[in-house]
Amino acid sequence: MARNDKNNEETIFDAAIKLQSGPQRDAYLAQACGNDSKLRGEVEALIRAHEAKSLLDEPAFDLGVTIDRSPITEGPGTVIGHFKLLEKVGEGGMASVYMAEQKEPIRRKVALKIIKLGMDTREVIARFEVERQALAMMDHPNIAKVFDAGATDTGRPYFVMELVKGVSITEYCDKNKISTKERLDLFIQVCNAVQHAHQKGIIHRDMKPSNVMVTQRDGKAVPKVIDFGIAKATSQKLTEKTLFTRYAHIIGTPAYMSPEQAELSELDVDTRTDIYSLGVLLYELLTGTTPVSEEELRKAGLVEVQRMIREDEPVKPSTKLTTLGERLIDVAEHRKATPDSLRKLVRGDLDWIVMRSLEKDRRRRYDTVAELAADIKRHLRCEPVLAAAPTLSYKARKFVQRHRVGVITVALVMGALIAGAAAATVGFVHANVQRRRAVSNFERACAAVDEMMRLAQRSVYEVPTIKSGALLQQDIVLKAQEFYQGLSKTNKNIPILRVKLAGTYQVVGESCLILRDYEQAEQAYRRAVGIFEELMREFPEDAELPSNCAYCQNGLGLSLDGLGQDEEAQSAYRSSLDMLRPVANTFSFGTPKELGPVVNSRFVDCGPCISYDGLSLFFYSNRPGGFGRSDIWVTERATTQDHWSTPVNLGPTINSKSYDAAPTITADGLMLFFESARSGGCGGSDLWVITRQTTDGAWSEPANIGPNVNGPDLDGAPSISADGLSLFFLSDRPGGAGNWDLWWTSRQAVGDPWDTPVNLGAIVNSPYLDQTPSISPDGLMLFFSSKRPGGLGYMGDIWMARRETVSDTFGKPVFLSPPLNSAACEVCPNISADGATIYFATYARPSGAGNWDLWEVPVLKLQPDSAEELNSSTLGEPAEE
């Protein structure tokens, strides 16, 4: 690259990124690059890179290195002043702690804490001297005394403290399965200790579990706060130059650091700083984790850590519990509780007490530790806590701060609710009560919508497993249900409340299906169906009610299937179909059936791809017997009338140690594309291809289809056209409608390079999750799975877009009617060459081996009889907002 070109490129790039993307930038690029299309391409690639995410966005962090150990200077046997080191009892990032023996002036055992980092020893000791008198005045059973400070021969500062034999408070509580109530009792003692110190003018500055040790005395657990005075002595004077120095302290325990400490302004620390750290400690005692996890902090650089501590609002402890997934069972067990009882216990008072302590603005925290302790005591005595009464305007402001985007909707909902509540109560309730109820409705609405928003923000696929996702969903939805139940009782005249209530039953039904709790699912769906039917009688004109009701009927059918009540299930399915009449006229499917125990395992079986002769079915699975996280397998049959054989793994040449998935094959059966996250690609998962000379020949080694198509992140779920010249796939690259989008690329002939991929556009892609495209053998139908509204439920359904000829663009996707789709989740559609069968994968349908399974459904009718019929399938279009 010539230097001049580069200068030119950089200048244009610098200017272009300052302009808004779109016509303005395009015009500039056209003018700046002239007819140099190569230069323009290069600059555009830079702009795309500029807008992309990259590993450069956070500092390098992962140093899983193993190197030889360095020598340790002090150790058992070393004599320091009057003290002889006996054994090491603790080790932290900043210091080592030894048990030591003191011979004179008195004979006793003490703890000696030696500071490791190269600090100015004289300054540390001088600062300690300043506080020495105050420290000596502290006398409290829950405080470990600090006796002295000095310097070792190697010039490192050390502190002499009362020897506390015990373990950190969090470790103690977990090891001994201490209940939440007893934890609170211990915590109150810790508060008393800190309050005592505050009264003597000592701020701890470094409250964290490892500084609260629990010892046993007379069979009773006694917490002891250690290290008073040490954080102050070892903190540095802060200037620009010592910013780095300070950072080393921060990385020790940023999880407990208050926003004012994160500012690095030493002057600004007061007793309320300890209240914040106590709040974090309480958070951890309740939920087993800190508001911002150690892991999140470790990944962040200095500036980001500061920002997180100063700005990120922590989630309430009870909400945090619901995000723990499978870990929640463990956390609850360590508190002698069940996940449910623990959540109930923490919800409310304790949430508020913790949140009040964690306020970013310390003026909003408790004024003293004594107040914090008093509030916990109130909670234990079941009295109303002070923290639970933030003013309405304060709450509303917090809400607005957190959810700027959703605020308008929220304001509308609030308005309707308060008006409704007021209307219902006029005439028989005292005005004051009326106002109070309106206010309490407002607050409850606030809280419920708040929770829902959080859920929405945390997209469901970030949850570790589908089951924990379902649990989380249930928890939050039940809360909303309670809310709408209460409101709709007093506000019969607001139908939207009943729609919302039915909606909560729908979602509960869904999660029950996933959890295979069919009795609960049946109950939930029945309630929803009941409400919708009532509404449909009252509002026969409403266009959306029937589709909602149809969905619940279908869910009811699945639940009854799960309970083995075949006849009732069939009748529910029929009612569902009746309500979907317009679509049912266009499409018609036979009874879906799972592929049976020879093919399906209780592991993930997904991504079916039927060969054009109908005799081989490729799919991927993480069943045992593979070579990586998921592998490609194939099952075969001699004729289309035969049963499928036991699946065979494609072998270690094709399947890597990583993920290999989503096979797709050409009509001649000689080229198979798939998704793989193996090394040697372009980053993330990539599209790869294998070829063979004849259909019974051996497959070649996999080849990456190259950086023309594969980007740095997710590229997957390929679908190759019959002739091998068009490739549809899923990608999260920038330039789409949002979430995952469908893209396509083509080439002139086999062996030619692929063109730059093109987004299938806003007609096909939605802002919801769109995935697993599959092009029909004639190239005119594109099947895919989507979570867009307009289908049956929110788990994902199969949709189809059509085009007149292969050179046309695809029209608006339509929803494929049940029984192909159901209230459960359907993905990975693949239609056979004769058009008679659609293979797909599903989760949470009652039969099957479990986890993801492969299913097939006979196609009875897929073509509309007339254009009007296609247009009349209004139900298949996403609802317009």
Partner: protein
């Protein structure tokens, strides 16, 4: 080998050749520091490379007020040393594991990515691209090293490289985009 403080003193006194001795000294120090920290961490925990650099700074450079020049030398050497440590490590670790990225079936735990696996690949690719960048454009490559391997902010980087913050920001935008384009 002279220790880092002596080398920095020499630099401060204007001994230009002393800078050459700095890298091996800092590298050794970081390596030992990493080992020491690892011996204290639970197995399986990861160390933050940038945190190590800052800790090394405290140990090696300490409280004494250093001038801009020696700080600059230190952080350049540390960023380079950290790059070498990380790359050597990634090369060693790679091969044992393949890459990983979550599969499109969004729900299942079995298909959640192994981040470390992926980062080795990415890191090696980044390093290659960074070497190419350094051939043409030393200052922008240094800037990336300081930002990425030593975890410095734009403002700190600007001071060390002796350029304005606005320039540093501009260089960073370009270098970052260039590298991403290069990695492909």
């Amino acid at each position: 080998m002279r220790d880092v403080t002596q080398i920095l003193n020499a630099i401060q006194e204007g001994n230009a050749r002393a800078a050459d001795e700095l890298l091996p000294a800092v590298y050794e120090e970081l390596r030992l520091l990493a080992a020491q920290r690892l011996s204290q961490e639970k197995p399986g925990q990861t160390l933050q490379a940038t945190a190590l650099v800052h800790e090394a700074y405290i140990r090696l450079v300490g409280q004494e007020a250093r001038d801009w020049k020696s700080r600059s030398h230190f952080f350049r050497a540390a960023a380079e040393a950290m790059r070498r440590i990380l790359i050597d490590n990634a090369r060693r670790k790679k091969g044992a594991k393949g890459g990983g990225r979550h599969n499109r079936i969004e729900y299942d735990a079995a298909l959640i990515p192994d981040r470390a696996d992926r980062s080795f690949d990415e890191l090696l690719a980044l390093n290659k691209a960074l070497e190419r960048l350094a051939e043409n454009d030393r200052i922008r490559a240094d800037l990336v090293k300081l930002r990425y391997f030593a975890g410095l902010t734009i403002a700190q980087t600007a001071e060390i490289l002796g350029i304005s913050e606005a320039t540093a920001k501009r260089y960073w935008n370009y270098a970052r985009a260039w590298l991403i384009r290069e990695i492909g």
